[in-house]
Amino acid sequence: MSRSRLLDIRAARRLFTTPEGKSFAALDGVDLAVDEGEFVTLLGPSGCGKTTLLRAIAGFEELDEGVIRLDGADLSGLPPHRRPVNTVFQSYALFPHMSVARNVGYALEVQGAPRAEREAEVAAALEKVGLAGLGTRRPAQLSGGQRQRVALARAIVAKPRLLLLDEPLSALDRNLRQQMQFELKDLQHRLGIAFVFVTHDQEEALTMSDRIVVLRAGKVEQAAPPREIYRHPKTRFVAEFIGETNLLPARVEGISGAQALLSLPGGQSLQAEAAGLEPGRTVTAVLRPTDITLGTGDLAGTLLRADFMGADRHLRVALEGGPEISVIARDTAVLPQPGTRLHLGCDPALVHVMEEPT
């Protein structure tokens, strides 16, 4: 399935001045491309520039350098109200003096759409977000989750080319958030509108996105589909930001066929896939705690502690002569007492090797 390019951002730079008079780049040469119908997530810690980038697309921030193109047309200098994108704000920003229906129909109202058409579109949009029949209420009479849906309905009613979502789920409680993640993804599929979704929650990003763009200090660290971001992080920052991980300094000792042999600081060794590795290089081995098997394997260590986490147990293991690592095991697994020696291993296919030394 090849999709055409919708949004194209090149070398975006945006400088801010702190109250102390220092200037820093909230966006420092960011490239971003979004295809039609794609769900792209901007992920990063607070202050990484993800919200600034979103506001630049919406037109609330002008770039100091770089260009934003939508459907090939340069957006620079175009005020927000003339851009064919709509935003779901973090605070929802619903108009408190208007009914839910008037909130949802606002984009059509300001376009001057006839009343009958407006009412039909509003009803359809409310239906899509599961709020049919609540049009006469005021935003203040709704729950947080319902307000979130109203904000969503309001942003899709005018059928934007691109929907921008600024941490829209951050105010919801955990259960509702998970439910909304699936609903949002589902809605995006049905509407076929491209979404650019901003979040600092890596779990949310992994669940919903077609592609994740990890930002750090105004720069793109990595842009790839969720699976690749999780399995093959390019940098230490990405590896640590996405899910829990063990980063082990290692040296490539030798290559035999498709297998590489890595040596760890304590003298133990680990097998990994050889693709692209050269002997003698200092690298970082990335081991996800869930990929480590207990009981069998080449690595030896001492169990330090085991913490109950519901379905899983979180273990800390000190590798012999080397670093401590985290292991996540099913709670039903039979575990030795803390202080006991045990063996662990990892499927070489699941060991990711980063060129970057630790």
Binding site: H81, L94, M98, A107, A158
Partner: protein, 293 residues
Amino acid sequence: MTHRDRLHLWGLLGPVTLFLGVFFLIPLLTIALYSILTPGLYGGVEWAFYHWNYGRIFGWADGIDEVFEPVYLQILARSLGLALTTVLLCLAICYPVAFWVAWLPQRWRMLFLFLIALPFFASLIVRLYAWLLILKPSGLLNTVLLATGLISEPLDLLYTPSAVVLGMVYIFLPFMFLPLFAAIDTLDAALIEASADLGAKPWQTFLKVIFPMTLPGVVAGSVIVFIPAVGNFIVPDILGGAKGLMTGNLIEQQFLSSRNWPFGSALAMVVMAVVLGALTIFATRAKKAGGAA
């Protein structure tokens, strides 16, 4: 309700009731009573019912039904017109300024709010006499205009209706500014962005979001300015000269120089009724506008 509860309730309500009774209700009832008593020949009152106090206001001279001359109603209408003009001008000046101040950095905002409150440190009379010195034929304004050659002879600025409007707007500006500023300052900037984001042109955002959301401040400011503006007599007195008689001056004259307390009381009651009526209409309309928006 037990005896104890009742005692408790009265303990809470008592002081307020007493305060309002002594300082509001009793004076008001006294005025209401005076307004239907006969004015004494040399000031004071005679304890006899007399309806011509009101008759005079509505246009009939004492006891002579045939002569209809609604001069007092004309003065009242002029006062209401002046108060309304004052409200509208204050609103037109304060609304944009309040926006500007709300967007200033914190430091400058505090300074500006202090400047708004600064005139209260000087006496109202002194400040109005300052305007008199500015506006009079040999005053500051005319001197400057003559010196720059913009005019060849002094302008007649003082003792004109414009001078009265100027003075009124000047003294009531802070009363309009503060409630407006409070409403505009608490306006959520995200709502303005949301409106633009949804395609509203700037004037649509103003009419559909900004103005309705700041309407409570507009209503509060207008009421706070309108009520004292109707009865104000100091500004017309100092800046308006003899031609610009307002209801406030009229009432003041009845109580002081004319010593006709019953007629003054009747005038005060009518002004109060008119103001209350105007405010009721205003409040219900504003509420409807706010509710429909």
